[in-house]
Amino acid sequence: MMADKRESGRVKEVQATRVLDEAARRRRQRKALEALEQDNFSEDPHADLKMSKKAPKFEEVMDTSSGPGPKRKKKTKGDFKLRYRKNFAALLEEEHMMNREGPSYTSSCAPRSKLPERRFCAVCGFPSNYTCVQCGTRYCCVRCLGTHKDTRCLKWTA
C-alpha cells in the first residue's frame, strides 16, 4: 500500500500519455494534404442506382471481351483506352521514366518558401504559440487545447 502511494503521479501520467512519433505525424500531415485535393467527401450517392443502359458510355467500346456481337473496330479504341486512361500518379511516373532533359512538370514546381513558418491554432485559426505535446498540433490557449484534446488529438488514431 505504502509503496503504491509513493509512486510519482507525474511520472505515471507521462507514461500513460501516448505521444505520436514522427512517422505518425507525417502520415497525418500527408492525409490532410490529400484531403485538400479530394473531389468529394462522401461516396457516390447514386452508387446503388443502375443508370439507364441506353446511353452508351465512352468506355463501352473497350468492353469487347464479352458479347457475341460483331467485332467493331475495337483495336484502335481499345488501344486508346489502354494508352490514355492513366491516373495522375501513373503519368508522373511515366515522365520520370522518360527522364528527359529540360524543364518539366516536376522542375516547374515552386520550391520551399524562404519565409519563416507561421503557426495558427488548429481550433480557432488565430496565431498560436503552443504545440500539443501528444500530436504536434498547434493551439493558442488552454480553452482551445481542451477542445483539441476532446475532438481531434488522438481521437482518430488507431
Binding site: 485538400l36 462522401s42 450517392p45 490514355y84 512538370y105 518558401s113 524562404k114 480557432c124
Partner: protein
C-alpha cells in the same frame, strides 16, 4: 470556316465561337445531386437542378491534368451538341487550351479525340497564359515596346507564373504553385466543418460562400488583430446565411448591423471571421497548411531569378493577372505590394488585371482566330491523318 475557342479549365470550360461576344462558362464536370436520383447533370445542365446541396462531382481533371476521358467526352459531347454550341465539325477550327508541361500521352489523347472522334477540321493547342500574352501585347501595342510579359494565372487546380519573352514562354522560368480555387474551397470546408457546422459535402455551397465573402488581406497581421475583437470594433466578421433550396435559393451575407442581433428564423448560418482572409492566404503562403511551396508573390521573384537579367524589369512592369482567384477582392493589391516590397527598388512594378480575368484568355483566342497567321498555327485533320502525332508535337508549342 468558323473558329471555336475552348479554354478547357479544370473547373470550368470557357467555350464559344470567335464571333461570339462572350463565351459560355460551363462547369467542366458531371454532377450528381443527392436529391435527384433520376438523372445526372452534364456540364451546364446543372442549371436545371433546383437543389444544389450535397452535389457529387465527377471531374475529368486530376491536379490540373486531363485524365478521365469518360467524363470529358460526355461534357464535350454536350458542349458541341445542338443543345449548346451546334458545332459543324467539318467546317470548324478549334483552339483548345491545356496546362503547361502537359504530359505527352494526354496531348496525344487530345489529338485523337479531336480529330478522330469529333472530326474537327483543324486544331490549335495552346495554353491560356500564352493566349493572354498574345492579347495583352496586341491591346497595348500602340503604347510602346513589349519586350516581356509576366502572366499570373491562378485557377482551379494551381497557379502558374509564366514569363514571356516577346510572345514565347520562357519555359525554364515557369513556376507552378499547387494551390488553386479547389484547395481553398476544400480547406474552407474543412475549417468550417470542424469549427461550426458539418459542410464537407457542400462543395458547391461553400465555394459560393468563398466567392461571396473571402478576400485577400493586404495587412494580414492587422486583420488578425481586428478579427479578435468584438462587434463593433470587429469590422471583419460576417454572418453568412446558407441556402436551404426551399425558401432561400442562394446563400447571402447578412449586413453587419443585423449580424449583431440574434438570428430570427430557423435558417442556418456560418460566421465567417478570420476564415475570410486566412483561407485565400494559402495562395501566398501555402506552408500555412503544410504545403511545402512558395506562395505566388515569392514565386514571382523566384521566376524572375531564372530569366535573363535584362528581361526581368520588363516583366515586373508588365504583369497580368488571370484566372478565377484574381477576382478575390484584394488579390491585385496584395500582389502589387508584395512584389513591390520584394523586387529591386530600381524597377517599376505594375500589376494589371483585365476586366474579366476568367474570360480574358478566351477573348484572346478570338483575337488570335482573326490573326492572318492563325491558319499556319493549326494542324488540319488531313495533315494529322498523314503525319499523326508528330506534326502536332512539332507545331504546337506545349
Amino acid at each position: 470556316m468558323t473558329t471555336l475557342i475552348v479554354d478547357n479549365g479544370a473547373g470550368t470550360a470557357k467555350a464559344g465561337f470567335s464571333t461570339d461576344p462572350e463565351p459560355r462558362i460551363i462547369p467542366n464536370c458531371v454532377t450528381k445531386a443527392k436529391n435527384v436520383r433520376t438523372r445526372i447533370f452534364i456540364g451546364d445542365q446543372i442549371d436545371e437542378c433546383k437543389d444544389l446541396s450535397s452535389l457529387y462531382y465527377l471531374l475529368p481533371f486530376q491536379r490540373g491534368f486531363l485524365v478521365n476521358w469518360e467524363i470529358e467526352k460526355q461534357v464535350w459531347d454536350r458542349l458541341f451538341s445542338k443543345d449548346v454550341l451546334q458545332v459543324d465539325f467539318n467546317e470548324t477550327r478549334l483552339i483548345l487550351t491545356e496546362p503547361f508541361f502537359n504530359f505527352p500521352s494526354i496531348g496525344e489523347a487530345i489529338n485523337e479525340v479531336i480529330f478522330e472522334e469529333f472530326q474537327f477540321h483543324a486544331l490549335h493547342r495552346t495554353q491560356a497564359p500564352t493566349l493572354t500574352c498574345y492579347k495583352h501585347q496586341k491591346d497595348k501595342e500602340t503604347s510602346g515596346s513589349m519586350f516581356g510579359t509576366l502572366v499570373i494565372d491562378s485557377g482551379y487546380s494551381f497557379s502558374h507564373i509564366v514569363p514571356f519573352y516577346k510572345n514565347k514562354p520562357v519555359k525554364e522560368a515557369i513556376v507552378r504553385v499547387n494551390v488553386g480555387g479547389k484547395v481553398l474551397t476544400n480547406h474552407l470546408k474543412e475549417v468550417i466543418s470542424y469549427r461550426q457546422l458539418m459542410v464537407m459535402d457542400e462543395t458547391y455551397v461553400i465555394n459560393q460562400m468563398k466567392e461571396d465573402v473571402c478576400y485577400v488581406s493586404t495587412q494580414f497581421n492587422k486583420d488578425m488583430e481586428i478579427a479578435r475583437k468584438k462587434y463593433p470594433e470587429n469590422t471583419i466578421s460576417r454572418d453568412y446565411i446558407l441556402p436551404d433550396y426551399t425558401h432561400i435559393k442562394r446563400g447571402y451575407v447578412r449586413t453587419q448591423e443585423e449580424s449583431s442581433k440574434k438570428s430570427k428564423g430557423d435558417e442556418q448560418m456560418i460566421r465567417m471571421n478570420n476564415e475570410r482572409f486566412a483561407v485565400p492566404e494559402l495562395l501566398f503562403q501555402p506552408a500555412d497548411v503544410g504545403i511545402p511551396e512558395m506562395g505566388i508573390s515569392e514565386s514571382i521573384i523566384h521566376s524572375l531569378s531564372l530569366v535573363d537579367e535584362e528581361l526581368s524589369p520588363h516583366l515586373l512592369n508588365n504583369t497580368v493577372l488571370t484566372g478565377g482567384n484574381a477576382l478575390l477582392p484584394g488579390f491585385q493589391d496584395r500582389l502589387q505590394s508584395d512584389v513591390r516590397s520584394m523586387a529591386s527598388d530600381d524597377f517599376d512594378v505594375s500589376v494589371s488585371m483585365p476586366g474579366n480575368p476568367i474570360t480574358f484568355p478566351w477573348q484572346a483566342g478570338c483575337d488570335l482566330a482573326a490573326d492572318p497567321s492563325f491558319p499556319s498555327l493549326c494542324v488540319t485533320r488531313q495533315e494529322y491523318e498523314e503525319h499523326g502525332h508528330t506534326i502536332c508535337s512539332n507545331k504546337f508549342n506545349v
